[in-house]
């Protein structure tokens, strides 16, 4: 049996979702226990999913706890319930059992928009430009000395 506990059910993009997944064997020991954070598009015929982060415990045995701390990307997407599709965020815990179907537990959560701070969404300057600037600075220093 797998149990997922989340520190909160609602989170904002750019924040960390913390919690833990607890595995207790009901007869068979698990070979592997993995916990992943993903979002997926749910709609008729749409099956797109993206895994954001993953925690793995190899050979957890009869009992194990995996604490997790997943960062939700700033760019989202946000949870959405539209007319053609939904965007669902969830934590999935899966135990790989020998000669049996894997045990799985899914816990959905909601990603809400964070308060708007313009600096957080400024596009980073190109690395090449930064290198050029650094080069220029070095040249100036050389000329000064």
């Amino acid at each position: 049996m797998i149990r997922i506990d989340l520190a909160q059910d609602e989170i904002r993009n750019g924040e960390h979702l913390r919690g833990r997944a607890q595995w207790t064997s009901e007869g068979k020991d698990a070979r592997k226990l993995e916990v992943l954070c993903r979002w997926r598009v749910e709609g008729k015929g749409s099956k797109h999913e993206e895994i954001i982060d993953l925690e793995i415990d190899v050979a957890p045995g009869a009992q194990a706890t995996i604490p997790f701390d997943f960062e939700i990307p700033m760019v989202g997407p946000l949870s959405y319930d539209g007319k053609l599709f939904r965007i669902v965020w969830e934590i999935v815990a899966r135990a790989d059992l020998p000669f049996a179907f894997d045990a799985e537990e899914i816990k959905p959560f909601t990603v809400r928009p964070r308060p708007y701070v313009p600096e957080e969404f400024e596009e980073p300057e190109d690395e090449e430009d930064e290198d050029e600037e650094e080069g220029e600075e070095e040249e100036e220093e050389d000329a000064g000395s």
């Binding site: 993009n13 749409s46 797109h48 760019v75 997407p77 928009p113 969404f121």
Partner: protein
């Protein structure tokens, strides 16, 4: 915020171009068939001449439109998060043409791709549609329109992946004097953050 691409100017409905192309193709085919027989050559030439007319009119109208209207820009004062309230400025050169009326709308569109590799089908649906009230600033040989825009706090924000997309649009319909009517569409990126008041 940087300029956005104008998905226009559009000359009327796309069906008009399609119809004129079909008529032209059909005319060429018939003329070619009739040309083989010396007795029906004249009929073939007449059919060809008639079928060319809609295509020539379409090309002429499009040339007039391109000459009268230059490339349009849509500028925002700032980035556009959820709950944004600000003004967009639509500007485009006008040469010998005059704006009669302008209609602007803010739209949010969902798009999903369904089916496998062979039978991919794209479905679109407008999930938010709001008429905007633009105000035209008089200028010499230039059209300048200020459009107040409010993005709802409830969203959604712009997103895209392989199979689904959420896009926001400002769509404009311009009724003109001195050149054919036209339309412009600008995609705007709505950030996944909300303005708190």
């Amino acid at each position: 915020m940087s300029d956005r691409t104008d998905y226009g100017p559009v000359l009327g409905s796309g069906y008009i171009h399609l119809a004129s192309t079909i008529v032209l193709g059909f005319g060429i085919f018939l003329a070619y068939q009739l040309w083989k027989n010396p007795l029906t050559r004249q009929v073939g030439l007449i059919i060809l001449a008639v079928s060319v007319i809609p295509a020539v009119i379409t090309i002429f109208r499009f040339m007039r439109l391109r000459r009268a209207l230059g490339t349009a820009d849509l500028d925002f004062e700032d980035s556009v998060p959820l709950g944004f309230s600000g003004t967009a400025t639509y500007a485009r050169p006008l040469r010998g043409a005059e704006l009669r009326t302008i209609e602007a709308r803010l739209q949010c569109e969902e798009e999903v791709v369904r089916g496998g590799r062979k039978q991919k089908k794209t479905i679109q649906k407008v999930v938010y549609d709001e008429p905007l009230t633009p105000s035209v600033t008089p200028a010499m040989e230039r059209l300048e329109v200020r459009i107040p825009v409010k993005i709802p706090t409830t969203g959604p924000s712009t997103m895209w992946c392989e199979e689904a997309k959420i896009t926001w649009w400002i769509r404009l319909k311009l009724r003109m004097a001195g050149c054919p009517n036209t339309a412009s569409s600008f995609q705007i990126q709505v950030l996944p953050a909300v303005v708190e008041r």
